[in-house]
């Protein structure tokens, strides 16, 4: 008997009872999915979350309190940490907050989380695994099951958005690579599709995407009145070695023209999650760069992701304001490590009255002021929310 023998015996005995989860956990699949989306600029990877259907939209916070205007909030006592004054905040990943909302679409083939949320109607849009079909549900159940026109990328690129009309969706036109993934590389148009599956309109956005280099769309979002389509893009050749100057464009539906309203810093920027305020005067978006954008751990840049507000008052220049810098996720840990292994999604959602934005912060969900980013309330939760947030009106 010697140390070598005892060591081997001990190690084997210790390891003998250790077993991983029997199948790939849903959370791991989700993280792979998010990572793939980020590493491809938000393009083309949809995962069916068949087993995750039960986790859909389960989390909620109820409150019957009235919305709190910013000017009056100082007069009121601080909100209880486990309530939301203005409706309910939902997170697709968490069942930490108890509550029930809409049932998931039937069939069990939809994605694990919604791809789009319409605050006006309280509707969620789901896609499916490689299927040209989308579902719209609200809290009362299925609103529409839509078979996408063949010419659209609908249902296959996670780029669907509600609008411009009340029963319409907008998606990039179809384009496929050799793997059958629908891409949004240089689509010349976007399609407006009715809930009945018919093609309502085709909008020419070639002005946006004819800037001398190949561009990917990374997100689309209609202003609440359906007059302006926000489009975020990034260069096709965005990788570790070349700059990635992301841009946000506003396409005027009536005039058919597009203009740039925001250009990210020239350092591999990903612009994602475009979301208009309810009054249509502010467009919020997530700006990220460095390792967060690339998904690689050996990237030397360490730039914190941030939530940016583009203020667009009528007849005035666009003002760019940073509302939230995600530098507080794990104090003492550099973003390089945080971004590489954890928390590479930073979902957010506007409150129905437009005064607040729900963000993930310090491993929790927080309400911040839409004016200045001040943290107004924090809610308990588990670290690492991945799925989207939605803020529903009170019923």
């Amino acid at each position: 008997m010697n140390l070598d023998h005892n060591l081997k015996t001990m190690l084997r005995a210790r390891a003998e009872g250790v077993a991983a989860a029997p199948v790939v956990p849903d959370s791991t699949v989700r993280r792979v999915r998010v990572r793939k989306v980020l590493m491809t600029g938000g393009v083309g990877v949809t995962v069916a979350g068949v087993a995750m259907a039960g986790a859909l939209m389960r989390s909620a916070i109820w409150s019957d309190a009235a919305p709190v205007p910013p000017a009056e909030r100082e007069k009121q006592e601080a909100p209880r940490p486990d309530t939301v004054r203005n409706g309910r905040i939902l997170n697709a990943d968490s069942d930490f907050w108890q509550g029930s909302t809409a049932p998931p679409p039937p069939g069990g083939q939809h994605s694990y989380a919604w791809d789009a949320f319409d605050q006006d109607t309280g509707s969620f849009l789901y896609t499916a695994q490689s299927m040209p079909r989308v579902w719209v549900v609200d809290e009362d159940g299925l609103v529409a099951e839509i078979d996408c026109p063949a010419s659209s990328g609908c249902g296959r690129n996670e780029m669907e958005t509600f609008g411009p009309g009340p029963h319409e969706l907008t998606v990039p036109s179809a384009d496929s690579n050799e793997h059958g993934d629908v891409l949004v590389r240089n689509p010349r148009s976007v399609h407006v599709i009715g809930f009945d599956g018919t093609l309502h309109d085709t909008l020419d956005i070639s002005a946006v995407l004819s800037q001398g280099q190949d561009l990917y769309l990374s997100d689309l979002a209609w202003s609440p009145d359906g007059s302006r389509l926000a489009i975020s893009t990034q260069p096709d050749d965005c990788d570790l070695s070349s700059p990635c100057e992301g841009k946000v464009w506003i396409f005027d539906h009536n005039r058919g023209e597009a203009q740039t309203v925001f250009t990210g810093p020239p350092e591999r920027v990903v612009l994602r999650d475009l979301a208009w305020s309810p009054d249509g005067r502010t467009l919020a978006l997530l700006v990220a760069s460095g390792s967060y954008a690339s998904g690689y751990s050996d990237d030397p840049e360490q730039v914190w992701p941030r939530l940016v507000a583009l203020r667009m008052p009528p007849n005035e220049p666009v003002r760019v304001e940073t509302l939230k810098v995600y530098d507080d996720w794990d104090p003492g840990v550099k973003v390089l490590e945080v971004a590489d292994d954890y928390h590479i999604a930073f979902p957010f959602a506007w409150s129905p009255d437009g005064t607040r934005i729900a963000v993930t912060s310090e491993g929790r969900i927080a309400e911040i002021s839409a004016e200045d980013g001040e943290v107004l309330a924090r809610h308990p939760g588990e670290k690492g929310f991945w799925g989207p947030l939605a803020w529903l009106r009170k019923r």
Partner: protein, 167 residues
Amino acid sequence: MRQTWRADLGDFYAVHADSAKRLAYLLTGDNELAEDITQDAFVKIAGRLGGLRSREASPAYLRQTVVNLCRSHFRRKRVERNYLQREASMHRPETVEGRDVLAADALWKELQRLAYRQRCAVVLRYYEDLSEQQAAEVLGCSVGALKALTIRAMEQLRARVGSEALS
């Protein structure tokens, strides 16, 4: 086609998840942390399964990823703090009876007290049964450095666990 990565991931996971977690457990001494690291490793490796030169290379890449992630975790203050707490708990009086069990426990505790790279060298050599060359590659060091790590680790284990645990 589109979902190939998921099918690949599922297949790869079914074959290699347990071994990855066992390695992570031996390197961290923490079952829950080992599970987290295992999932982290599969997240990292999922996007590259198709890009590896051969399927045979995947387990080695997974092993490398687990070792790197364990190292990364130990660099984190939060994890280090947890580790210290865990280590402290290991020195509480044991209720387990039996000389062999006590000896194995002592060895296990002392293994966890080794510096990470020393512990890694021991686990790779004595559990994974890697050659010196292979273990050196995983650790990113020379064979000489690997030998030195292993020798120092074994010396410390001998000194700490005493002769009772070795007999």
